[in-house]
Structure formats: structure tokens, C-alpha cells
């Protein structure tokens, strides 16, 4: 247990403060952005590398991050209109999932096929981080092309869960979640196609938000399944997620699926401070059988706290959710097989020549994709090609799209009865590295509670619900709201978080093992 003194400015304190606390200290002149950024970089050097390191980062962007931090400090020190115009989060560092393209840093998507590739442009979300002058600490590890629930499908080795180094940090955004949980970064960006922000949040004791589809621009996120993918915040507090969502969200003409209307005031929603009169719906199909007992216990406690705070708890039924996982595993691979066709050994990344002639483009393509893609990516491309092939299209892809309509109808009916829905984020706590690697189907089941939101485009938030009795590992609570009503998640999430923290006597992450004892290896230099 690490004592936190919010008044302190030593490195050990700085890395543990929330983004909102850091922003307040920066505004008050109590600390500089260079001090904060350096503290994060030192922490990364201390805990991320080596055999038993977290391995959250695929690339560390120290030089540029410190330069941006120094720029913010200089503007603040000079005062005047430029200092007044600084964004609230200016100088607060952030990590970016390596599925999101960045100028000046490599982007690998966790794949060998993009090793060493540099994007000629920034993703819109990255451009917005730069406009807010937030130092970018580096790029975080992920399952290859975001395909997985454990980060074990990364071509660059798995990320470890800071709560237990032998366990998975969730996926696909395990790097972003672990970086935030291990106090390597106060904030991170993730992407969520079927739960890749929320499930890592759940198993690492952090907060993750999948915004309404279209609330945050996807321009520059390497597409897996375009109708499901969404970029969102990965943080340690609900308020921090609202602050970050506000930085990256809003209309972007470069993404034709971007919602045209302005964002609601999400930060104000997080500061509402009450849930009185709100109807919170338990989804009958998303708890109970198949969910670990410790997960179920923490979930029930959260319900009690919300009820005591004046919310009305109702039960809703979403009978078609039973088909959601199956529909997802048809729609997602179908879209992925099409999206990944661009990796052809011609325009970017790897080119592998077949060992024997003829060296035609088709054979070069097949050799490049065989060498560049990992097993899970190949599996999904083949599955998607199958679901889209003549003779099977109607039975598979067509049917899955109909299920999507049914899932949306279930949500619509549920939101007639409830303002916000609630469920555990994942059926279990973090499993052991390697445990489900040879069983794709068991791996897919991790996303059973998170997938419906992607199919329907509605927003979801996962926050820490405590530790499971049987294994002492973090449990996530998921909140879901109607499309375009992300504000409700922040309102309810912040209240539940404060009630839980009052019970725990501080943030859940204060109970995480102290990683400082881990050997600091010089592997960081090689990154």
C-alpha cells in the first residue's frame, strides 16, 4: 500500500496523481510539466522493461514529450494571453495505443507487418492532443491489429498486469490500461471494437470509456471493424476520462461517421455528484451464470451503494444479447478481412519475396501476409472471408446484421425502463498468461458483456468495482447509456466511484503491489 500525499511534488507522488490533480498543480505553479513528464519517463524506465517488466510501451517518445513539456512550462512562466489560452490539460502527459497513427513515432499496430513503419500524418485524436499541448509519452502495446482480449497476440510480446505479473492485462488495449495502472502515465488512449478499452480497464483496476460511435473521430485509427471501432479514454478516475473525452471528441470532417453535433459538457456531468431519481437497469442476461462469484459479489455491492444514494434499481431483459457474441464474431472478422486487404506488401510495411520463382505480385502478397500476420489475425481474416463468401453471405454476415438490429431493439426497450444500464464488465478477473491462448473460443467469451454496446453503437464505461474475494484481483463495473448520452455514464460513474473510494479509504490502485521493487533493467534503452 502506497501512501499518497496530494500536496507533495516528489516523483513518487506525481506519478500517482490523477490528471485533474496534476492540471490543478500546474495551474497553481506548484509543479512543472517537465517534472511530471520526467517522473513518468523515469517510472517507465523503472518498471516497463526487462524480463518481468510491464511491457506496456512499444516505443518511448522521451525527447519530444520533454520538449512539449518545456514549451508548456515556458508559456506558463511567461504569462499573458498565451498562458491564459492554455488548455486545462496542457502539460499533462499521455500514452497512445499503437493502433493510432502518429507523426515522428513508429506505428506498428502490434504487428510485424508494420514494423518500422512511420505514418505521414497524425490521427485526429493525436492532432487534438498536440493542440492541447499534452506531451505524448509513447505508444502502447496491443494485440496485433487490436485482435484479442489479453495482449498476448502482440508480435512484440505480452504486456503484464501490474496487479500480478503472471496475468494478462486484458486486451486488446492491455498496454494502455497497464501503463495507467502501473503509474507510468496518468492518461492513455485506447480503441474499443468489442471491449478493448473496457475489459482491460476492468482487469487492471482502471477506468475506460467507449464513447458513442462517432463521438470521437476514427481518422488515423488503423481500422479493424469500421462499424464497431471507437477511440476512447483510459484513465485512473472517471473525471479524468471526461476531461480526456472532451479533448479528443467532437465532429471531425475527416471521418464521415463522426457525429455532427457538439459534445455535451461531460466534465460537468462527472461533477454532478448525485444519482437521485435515476433509474439504473440490471441486465438480466449479463450477470449470474458464467460470472465468477467474486465478480458477482462486487457487482451486487455496487448496486446497493447506488440504491443507498437514491437511484432506483430495476431489472431489464435483453433476450437477443445471447446472439450478440456470435454476431460479433461474424461481423468483426468480415470487416477486418476487408480492412486488412490493404496490407499487400506494396504501399507500406513489410515485403517478403517467395523463395522460388515466379515472383508475381500475388505470390509476393501471399508470402508477405503469411510472414507479417500472426495466427489470430490470420484466423479472423479467414473467418471473415468465409462469412462473406458466395453461398454463405446471407446465412452468416446477413444474419449477423439482423441480430444487430435485434440487439439495438433490446437496448431501446431497456432504455425505456432505465436511464443507465449496469453489468459486470467482464465475466472473470484477469486470467494467467497463456491460459487461454490455445482456445480462441474461450478467449472470445471475455467480451460477452462488452460486445452488445459496440453492435448498437451505445457508449459504455468501465470503472473499478473492488477486488474479487477469491483471488484479490480487480473487478470492473460497466455502465451503458443510450447513444449520444455519454454524459450519463460520467454522472453515474463518478458517483459510484466516490462511494466505493469512501468504502476503500482511497483509490483501488493504492492497494496494487508496489512495482518499485521490480528490477529496473536497461532494456528501455533498446526501445
Amino acid at each position: 500500500m502506497t501512501e499518497l500525499n496530494p500536496a507533495g511534488t516528489d516523483a513518487g507522488t506525481l506519478i500517482r496523481l490523477s490528471a485533474a490533480q496534476l492540471a490543478a498543480k500546474l495551474a497553481a505553479g506548484e509543479v512543472t510539466s517537465v517534472e511530471i513528464t520526467r517522473a513518468c519517463l523515469d517510472r517507465i524506465a523503472q518498471v516497463d522493461g526487462g524480463e518481468r517488466g510491464i511491457n506496456a510501451f512499444l516505443h518511448v517518445n522521451a525527447e519530444e514529450a520533454l520538449a512539449v513539456a518545456a514549451e508548456v512550462d515556458a508559456i506558463r512562466a511567461a504569462g499573458g494571453p498565451e498562458a491564459d489560452a492554455l488548455h486545462e490539460l496542457a502539460g499533462v502527459p499521455i500514452a497512445v495505443k499503437d493502433l493510432i497513427v502518429t507523426v515522428g513515432q513508429p506505428t506498428t499496430a502490434g504487428s510485424k507487418i508494420l514494423e518500422g513503419w512511420h505514418s505521414p500524418y497524425d490521427a485526429t485524436v493525436v492532432a487534438r492532443l498536440r493542440a492541447a499541448k499534452m506531451p505524448i509519452l509513447g505508444k502502447t502495446n496491443l494485440d496485433e491489429f487490436a485482435m484479442g482480449s489479453s495482449t498476448e497476440h502482440s508480435a512484440y510480446g505480452p504486456t503484464r498486469n501490474p496487479w500480478d505479473l503472471d496475468r494478462i492485462p486484458g486486451g486488446s488495449g492491455g498496454g494502455s490500461a497497464a501503463a495507467v495502472a502501473a503509474f507510468e502515465a496518468p492518461l492513455a488512449l485506447g480503441t474499443d471494437t468489442g471491449g478493448s478499452i473496457r475489459q482491460p480497464g476492468a482487469v487492471t483496476g482502471t477506468v475506460g470509456v467507449k464513447p458513442t460511435y462517432g463521438s470521437v473521430s476514427r481518422y488515423g485509427a488503423i481500422a479493424m471493424a469500421s462499424s464497431l471501432d471507437q477511440i476512447g479514454p483510459v484513465t485512473r478516475t472517471v473525471l479524468d476520462s471526461a476531461l480526456l473525452h472532451q479533448v479528443i471528441g467532437g465532429h471531425d470532417p475527416k471521418d464521415s461517421t463522426s457525429l455532427p453535433e457538439p459534445l455535451a459538457d461531460l466534465v460537468a456531468a462527472a461533477r454532478t455528484g448525485n444519482v437521485e431519481g435515476l433509474r439504473i437497469g440490471i441486465i438480466k442476461e449479463l450477470h449470474g451464470e458464467g460470472y465468477q462469484a467474486g465478480v458477482e459479489n462486487r457487482f451486487n455491492e455496487a448496486l446497493e451503494l447506488l440504491k443507498d444514494a437514491g437511484a432506483t434499481i430495476v431489472e431489464v431483459s435483453c433476450p437477443n444479447f445471447q446472439y450478440a457474441l456470435g454476431a460479433y464474431y461474424l461481423i468483426m472478422p468480415s470487416e477486418a478481412s476487408s480492412n486488412l486487404a490493404k496490407f499487400d506488401g506494396v504501399r507500406f510495411g513489410l515485403r517478403v519475396l517467395p523463395t522460388d520463382p515466379p515472383l508475381t505480385i500475388e505470390r509476393v502478397m501471399a508470402a508477405t501476409r503469411a510472414a507479417g500476420f500472426g495466427d489470430e489475425v490470420k484466423r479472423r481474416i479467414i473467418l471473415g472471408t468465409y462469412a462473406l463468401s458466395a453461398g454463405y453471405y446471407d446465412a452468416y454476415y446477413g444474419s449477423a446484421q439482423k441480430v444487430r438490429t435485434l440487439v439495438q431493439r433490446d437496448f431501446n426497450a431497456a432504455f425505456e425502463q432505465a436511464d443507465v444500464l449496469i453489468s459486470p464488465t467482464a465475466p472473470t478477473t484477469a486470467f494467467k498468461l497463456g491460459e487461454k491462448l490455445d482456445d480462441p473460443l474461450a478467449m472470445y467469451l471475455n467480451d460477452v458483456a462488452t460486445i452488445p454496446a459496440n453492435l448498437a453503437g451505445v457508449p459504455g464505461l468501465s470503472l473499478p468495482g473492488g477486488l474479487a474475494d477469491e483471488d484479490g484481483l480487480p473487478v470492473g463495473i460497466q455502465l451503458l447509456a443510450p447513444a449520444r448520452e455519454d454524459a450519463r455514464l460520467y454522472r453515474v460513474g463518478a458517483v459510484l466511484e466516490s462511494l466505493l473510494e469512501a468504502k476503500w479509504g482511497g483509490p483501488l490502485l493504492a492497494q496494487a503491489p508496489d512495482l518499485a521493487g521490480a528490477p529496473a533493467l536497461e532494456a528501455q534503452e533498446a526501445k
Binding site: 462499424s227 446472439y323 464474431y329 484466423r379
Partner: protein
């Protein structure tokens, strides 16, 4: 619906332009058979009257003004290419007569 077998996987791998070894085809056929079996229920879930949803939040008529916006230079566009020549992507032979 027919189960997926090794020949199917070989055909699909050709369509998807992924070279696969015999061992890989065997393994993948087994894994995909399990997955395809598990998603079978999807085809029985919805009746003929249920419309398909391709996009979670439909937006119609997304246009922009017909003016030249940001464009990449040839150098930028080619910066990640494995091979290029005279400001163009250099592609292996399309036909195998070369």
C-alpha cells in the same frame, strides 16, 4: 450449414492471399470448425422481416465542399513503401511471364 474443412480453409487462404503450410491448414481447419459451430445460432435468431443494420448510428448525405483540401506529397505517400521508383510505387510483376 456445412462444417468448414481443410479444403475450404485452403481455398479461403488463397482468396485472402495468405500462404499457409499444411500444418497451419490442419490447425486452422480445426479451430475454425469450432468457431463456426458456435456462431451457427446467429442464422436462426432473426426472422425474414427483421431489417439488417450495417451501421450503428446511420448518418445520411455526408458531403463536404468540393474544394481541394490537404493532399500528401508523393514523397509522403511513398515514405512507407517497401519499394518505389520515379515517384511511384514499385510493384512486382503482375503476370508471371516476366
Amino acid at each position: 450449414m456445412a462444417a468448414i474443412n481443410r479444403d475450404d480453409v485452403a481455398h479461403l487462404a488463397r482468396l485472402a492471399h495468405i500462404e499457409m503450410s499444411a500444418e497451419e491448414l490442419d490447425r486452422m481447419a480445426g479451430e475454425l470448425a469450432v468457431i463456426v459451430d458456435s456462431v451457427k445460432s446467429v442464422s436462426e435468431a432473426a426472422g425474414a422481416d427483421v431489417p439488417a443494420t450495417s451501421h450503428p448510428i446511420p448518418l445520411t448525405n455526408v458531403f463536404r465542399d468540393d474544394v481541394v483540401g490537404h493532399t500528401f506529397t508523393a514523397e509522403q505517400s511513398l515514405s512507407g513503401a517497401p519499394d518505389s521508383l520515379d515517384n511511384r510505387f514499385k510493384v512486382p510483376a503482375i503476370l508471371d511471364e516476366a
